[in-house]
Symmetry: none
Subunit: 121 residues, 4 copies
Amino acid sequence: MNIAISNTSEKPIYQQLFEQISAQILGGRLDSGYCLPPIRQAAQELGISVITVKKAWEELERSGLIHTMTGKGCFVAELTPDQKLQIRNEMILEQMIRDVSYYKSFDLTLDETIEMLKKIY
Amino acid sequence: MNIAISNTSEKPIYQQLFEQISAQILGGRLDSGYCLPPIRQAAQELGISVITVKKAWEELERSGLIHTMTGKGCFVAELTPDQKLQIRNEMILEQMIRDVSYYKSFDLTLDETIEMLKKIY
Amino acid sequence: MNIAISNTSEKPIYQQLFEQISAQILGGRLDSGYCLPPIRQAAQELGISVITVKKAWEELERSGLIHTMTGKGCFVAELTPDQKLQIRNEMILEQMIRDVSYYKSFDLTLDETIEMLKKIY
Amino acid sequence: MNIAISNTSEKPIYQQLFEQISAQILGGRLDSGYCLPPIRQAAQELGISVITVKKAWEELERSGLIHTMTGKGCFVAELTPDQKLQIRNEMILEQMIRDVSYYKSFDLTLDETIEMLKKIY
DNA sequence: GTGGTCTAGACCACG
DNA sequence: GTGGTCTAGACCACC
């Protein structure tokens, strides 16, 4: 549970959780078959509500990244590296399309965008 | 009022308004001194609530892009091209920093980011 | 809101809600653009919790049957009769596949199944 | 013990066990007087918990399909073919009534139901 | 022990 | 007014 929750962020807590765990699974930092901590334990460790954790877990399951076995726990899904890469790229692409439409509304060119990106990275 | 409002977007309407007008001002499509339409008229034209328009106007004023003169209307602020460019870049940078932190959480490298951007643009 | 909730049923309340409203939308008894009652009102009318209603509404949105507009309400999605028919058949088919696998485990033949169905209908 | 347990299924494991053994008994694949394996052995073979097996056995006994003789084991009950057929049909009918009520909620006619069934079988 | 459901009630953002 | 999020706490089913 290497998770950082920001209460001040504009992003809902459950979404922060979802994104960070997604990234860990898709990046191979959480292996297939790994058992996530019980929602009550995770909630306590992170200092948030059980329900908030559950909501994040539900999103993960809906995305096919974990699999819940009632009474046993929640396990990281069995995904091939290819599948992981594809899901990762879809998630990023979906977000990036929104980002680019914002940049474009300011007439930001591709070159300008790349230049700014280089500074930030 | 060349504005496109999407009811299905996840973005709040007032923010869509704010972003589009900001972009028009900073891109020179709305000249300094131009008088924005009265909020009631704008609301009617766009088919949205007066309160929503007012909120967008307030945000614009807070950003220094327009200036409200009670009883007369809202006018685009007098800004030099340099000032406009600077505000524009700040707005974009602020957003891009958030975007990049999202990409990074998926271990997306700068090169990968640029490659995906090129496809989207 | 022509809904019947059974507290004794083994089915979760939110799922009963989801299924019944799905059926009403797909069957044309709730027209496109119709505004569902506010979740608080629906909860009160049905004598259940706001959260339970919300969960059902979320499932409906996830299935593309309704569209939520924060601050305005939840509206039945614009779907062509063809789209409705397709979604309906998919929902039924998904369930029927499970049903059939149960029948088959008892060596129930297609003819026997049809015969029993005729009696029940 | 020709049993297939699915951990990914939404159905509880004990119920999967119950249904499959019921079907085997009622279909004559498990003869009257046959001694079921000890729950510990069954649990080990299937890779599930002893408690889960015990719960399935209890359900089977409650349905009159097996008979437990403490210290000796669990034996398939003595049932005439007619009795078996009747119990089988009751079990199926009970389920099918629920299934049909679901189909009917979508205004699925008997003919449509039969047509879809034929495709699935 | 685990997750699944339902409850009541609070606070915030949006229109 | 609307929905969106988060909270605490209860009860149940499953393992």
